[in-house]
Amino acid sequence: MSITQILFWILTVAVLFSAIMVISSKNPVHSVLWLVAAFFFISGHYILLNAQFLAIVNIIVYAGAIMVLFLFVIMLMNLNKSTEPLKNRSLQIIGILSGGCLLLVLVAALRNTEISENTALVNTGDAGLIKTLGRELFTNFVVPFEISSILFLSAMVGAVVMGKKD
């Protein structure tokens, strides 16, 4: 059992645990924090897969920017105490059950597929290095890159239209 495997298992357990905590904790603030934790562990997986760039971006953008944004909003609405009354049990049960079934079905379906014997190459390979990605991004992927600028523009306009008091 190599170190990477051990790390993998630890990270996996941690991710799943914090994810579950996200959806189960009463206090919104807590679930935000758990989500941040989950993102960190996912970044850990990225590093394990030698995708440093994504790992960093994930931490900066997600855990850093986005989650903080969430936190702000929640604070702003001072939902920090568990204001949420329980959703009626039956629906919850159904939700959990159907989710479980979905997982079961997907796993059962995808367990042995055409790629099931393949492996993901861990802690080697330069695909995930900033150098490679950067070159790709600004050469071949420039079109979607520019397109995403439209997306941002519209998001910006939207945020203004929505947020501004009138």
Partner: protein, 635 residues
């Protein structure tokens, strides 16, 4: 020839159009002249045609194609042979007299109604002429329905009276039932033989193409048609009600001419019937049954016209008896004589009613002989004739029928004789109560009792003479040899069927037996006449009938039975269909589908609960289902 023949029906048609369209502008006199004049014209032409036929040249003229599709070819054609010629004379001759009579009888009507009356009458003559002149069944059928229409119009002539119009409708519908059978028979002929032209189908070769079943079927259907038109069981009940029409109409249509259409039709297709012994027997039985039934009802009627109506029915029964026993000549003969004396009787009764100011109940009459001589005499002659007193026309024709019946089976003869006796009885009951004894009407009626004008009496006289001498065209074989001129005249029409009947073994009784029969019947009739005369000339039966009498007075309750068995159920069914079945089943299903849809719409709302969570849940479940089916169940 072509022109003369088409003129015979066209003249009355012209009269119809003139009177009908100009009815508001014509004076009564003019209308009357047009009405009767046209008929007189066609009477003269008919005589001409008769002469032609007598000279032996039978005319078959084709005018235009009525219907012609593929192999089916129905021309609009006339055929004038001996049989037709006879009927032509009867229709136009008697018809003319009755037109003449009507000019006086209907004189109280408003001018335009007067004109309308003559228009209808002319239209009737026209259709009747089509009926007898048609060279094929379709043209005959045109006339056949045409006369039905006219009888409808004339029965309902006084259309303000609801019950009259009801009677008219009844007559038309009952005829319709017969007509349907007639039509079906036609279709069978067309589909089996491909033609409806008499000269083409009434040949042994053609008829031999028909199977026994077919021929029986066709003849029976035609006969059903005849029962409708000629008021036989079971379709006779319309005729007594038809007396709602003006009396001359009853005389012309419901005694002399239209009702004999059935007899004409069967006589016309005699060959076919001779080939269908089964049908013949059935006709004989129906005929005699009708004769007895109607006669029995007539015994207890008090309405003068009702009595005559039922007597007509029973006389028609005799004619069918004759047809059924294969004595076609006798049937035609009786048609002729009956036309004379029954028209006479009706017109006489009309004259009486005229004098009585519309009163028809003979219990309110009596002793009229003093007031109206001519009517009285002629009426008496009529009664004697119909009763079959030897020497008058009725005797000859009826005797011939009875002889024919005896030839088939003695039972028929006996029954026929009983019928004859009943006839004698009720006729003289009628005569006695009307003319003998003392007047029982109101003083006011009594005040203007008078003999009718010439226009009424002349036809009476003429018809009286005819009903006396009319019989001598057919003096039976056993009296004078070879004096049955009618038979000889009609021979070409019936010759072929005679041979057919030989096969069936219709033998003619020997002269000696005929002597016996004739003697017997005459004797009994005389006795009955005397009985009735004495019985009713003193005091008519004023008292309320009971027991059998009541049954007879109420016509065996046949109308009521029909009403209960056919009319009422149909109406109930109609109400049920329209208010229950149509609404709830037929339309209900259609609306039900609509309701179902909107119901479904209302039910599907639960999915659209407005809950985001629920929506997503449903989506997830759908996804789940698809995956399960796709990966684990679908191979």
């Amino acid at each position: 020839m072509k022109i003369e023949l088409i003129l015979i029906p066209l003249l009355p048609l012209a009269g119809f159009l003139l009177n009908g369209l100009l009815r508001n502008y014509l004076s009564k006199g003019l209308a009357g002249i047009i009405g009767s004049g046209t008929v007189l014209g066609s009477f003269i032409l008919s005589i001409a045609a008769f002469m032609q036929v007598k000279a032996g040249n039978i005319a078959i003229v084709e005018y235009f194609d009525f219907i012609k599709t593929g192999s089916l070819h129905i021309p609009f054609a006339f055929q004038v042979d001996q049989l037709t010629a006879i009927f032509l004379l009867i229709i136009t001759g008697v018809g003319f007299l009755i037109h003449l009579y009507s000019t006086a009888y209907m004189h109280d009507e408003k001018p335009h109604h007067f004109a309308r009356y003559f228009a209808y009458l002319n239209l009737f003559v026209f259709s009747m002429l089509l009926l007898v002149m048609g060279a094929n069944f379709v043209v005959m059928f045109i006339g056949w329905e045409g006369v039905g229409l006219c009888s409808y119009l004339l029965i309902g002539f006084w259309f303000k009276k609801k019950e009259y119009t009801k009677a008219a409708t009844k007559a038309f519908v009952m005829n319709r039932i017969g007509d349907l059978a007639f039509l079906i028979a036609l279709f069978m002929l067309i589909n089996k033989l491909g033609s409806v032209t008499f000269t083409e189908i009434f040949t042994p070769e053609a008829l031999s193409k028909l199977s026994g079943f077919d021929i029986t079927m066709i003849t029976t259907l035609l006969f059903i048609g005849a029962t409708g038109k000629s008021a036989q069981i079971p379709l006779y009940t319309w005729l007594p009600d038809a007396m709602a029409g003006p009396t001359p109409v009853s005389a012309l249509i419901h005694a002399a001419t239209m009702v004999t259409a059935g007899i004409y039709m069967i006589a016309r297709s005699n060959l076919m019937y001779s080939m269908a012994p089964g049908t013949l027997n059935c006709i004989a039985i129906i005929g005699i049954a009708t004769a007895l039934l109607a006669a029995s009802i007539a015994l207890k009627q008090n309405d003068i016209k009702k009595v005559l109506a039922y007597s007509t029915v029973s006389q028609l029964g005799y004619m069918f008896l004759a047809l059924g026993t294969g004595a076609y000549v006798a049937a035609v003969f009786h048609v002729m004589t009956h036309a004379f004396f029954k028209a006479l009787l009706f017109l006489g009764s009309g004259s009486v009613i005229h004098a009585m100011g519309g009163e028809q109940d003979m219990r309110k009459m009596g002793g009229l002989s003093k007031y109206m001589k001519i009517t009285h005499i002629t009426f008496l002659i009529g009664c004697l004739a119909i009763a079959g007193i030897p020497g008058l026309s009725g005797f000859f024709s009826k005797d011939e029928i009875l002889a024919g019946a005896f030839g088939t089976s003695p039972v028929l003869y006996v029954l026929g004789l009983i019928g004859a006796l009943m006839t004698a009885f009720y006729m003289f009951r009628l005569y006695a109560t009307t003319f003998c004894g003392s007047f029982r009407g109101t003083a006011e009626q009594k005040s203007h009792l008078h003999e009718s004008p010439a226009a009424i009496t002349i036809p009476l006289i003429v018809l009286a003479i005819l009903s006396v001498i009319g019989g001598y065209v057919g003096i039976p074989e056993f009296l004078v040899h070879g004096a049955h001129t009618l038979k000889d005249f009609l021979n070409p029409v019936f010759a072929q069927s005679a041979t057919e009947l030989e096969k069936l073994g219709h033998q003619h009784p020997s002269h000696s037996t005929e002597w016996a029969l004739a003697g017997l019947s005459s004797l009994l009739v005389l006795i009955v006449v005397v009985l009735a005369w004495n019985r009713f000339s003193k005091k008519p039966d004023m008292d309320e009938a009971k027991g059998l009498g009541k049954l007879l007075q109420n016509k065996w309750y046949v109308d009521e039975i029909y009403d209960a068995v056919i009319t009422k159920p149909l109406n109930r069914l109609s109400v049920f269909f329209s208010s229950v079945f149509e609404k709830n089943i037929v339309d209900g299903i259609v609306n039900g589908v609509g309701k179902l849809v909107s119901y479904g719409g209302r039910q599907l709302r639960w999915m659209q609960s407005g809950q985001t969570g629920a929506y997503i849940l449903l989506m997830v479940l759908a996804t789940l289902m698809v995956f399960v089916l796709q990966f684990f169940l679908r191979k």
